[in-house]
Symmetry: C2
Subunit: 241 residues, 2 copies
Amino acid sequence: MTYYQTKNIGVVPPPHLSDKLRLYHVNMNPYGHRVLLILEAKRAKYEIYKLDPLKLPEWFKEKNPRLKIPVLEIPTEQGDKFLFESVVICDYLDEMYTRNPLHSTDPYVKAQDRLLIERFNELIKGSLECFDTNFAFGSEQIIQTLDIFEKELASRGTNYFGGNRPGMLDYMIWPWIERLLLLRCVNAKKFDSKRSLFPNFADWSDQMQLDDIVKKHAHSPMEYFDYYKNARAHCMAQDWL
Amino acid sequence: MTYYQTKNIGVVPPPHLSDKLRLYHVNMNPYGHRVLLILEAKRAKYEIYKLDPLKLPEWFKEKNPRLKIPVLEIPTEQGDKFLFESVVICDYLDEMYTRNPLHSTDPYVKAQDRLLIERFNELIKGSLECFDTNFAFGSEQIIQTLDIFEKELASRGTNYFGGNRPGMLDYMIWPWIERLLLLRCVNAKKFDSKRSLFPNFADWSDQMQLDDIVKKHAHSPMEYFDYYKNARAHCMAQDWL
């Protein structure tokens, strides 16, 4: 992975791609985090173009009028092409790079995993609700979603949703779980008591943190805590704990 | 295809499956229509269990607490399993039955098609807005979405989105386009003038109506018109035209 750097950053678009992919990414963005995990899992050659969401370059707005983030730029014989939506980008990468297949080869399990990735959106919505200080509703959505994933892991009887190693579902939900760990910075005792409600999921979370791919793009709970505190998370965390 | 019939309908669940699939379907429902098209395209063996959305059986609610419709029931060695979400069900069928592949084998084209299927949700939302009599907003959404698909078809330069025959994207959007044709019943002249704004898409629509798979589950514009009139579409159609 290389970071794209130029003194003209933001004024002119980056050069056309030759042999690698380019991810347009906003720092700390969980959807971009998904794509980073899959790029690493697939050992794809890529560079990151960092975007400031408050100062999106004009050429970027022209290429991407709906201002979707993240975006994957792909070199092809017909010129560079763009893909949007983290889940679609990640499925594309899984199909394009046959090394380390992340989706189950069983179409039924793959379909179930896709439904669970969709279901996980409720935890994402819950986190946003908490962030918007609608805490009671948001935390209930988070707890209910964690309960579904706890039961799913217990019924699969494996360390990871993907079996004996992380698969697509594991990586698709990880960015938000990594961020939830910031709550331990606020009140470790209360965090640990909530955690004990979801023993399988807690073990899964411990193991995910040791995964080499996860470690490459990990931030510590304290880094997330500081990041979100600078936005609006301080009140969210106090309400939560 | 066989329809499931029993005098106990609604009281006890239908028997376990042996060699075929079962689709739980609400008559005239466009999401179920999607699955019917793919079941036919794949020549899968299936039966339909018709549900009345106002009288959902208790056993159905227990199996499906979120009351999702349509549902595909699949016989497996571990008993019958259930799949939800029309797009996930259809992708599952495409992977499970290798005959007549509906998704492109090019992962980039497949990803683009998935994005377009998602984009099409705006036409679906627009139709619902019209149905809710928020006509100005709804019709603008429909027109904008049709414009995207018109341009996409022109840029592909093929008769169908899938190439020289209908593919997954064609069938995923068809149920709503078949229903839009009801507007011709209200004001043919105005319908035809709108239609002329989208010449490629209009040709595509003409060809889709002649497709054998489409014909198996087609309803005439007048049937849809009567059906929606009985709900609330009468005012929608009058506003539209």
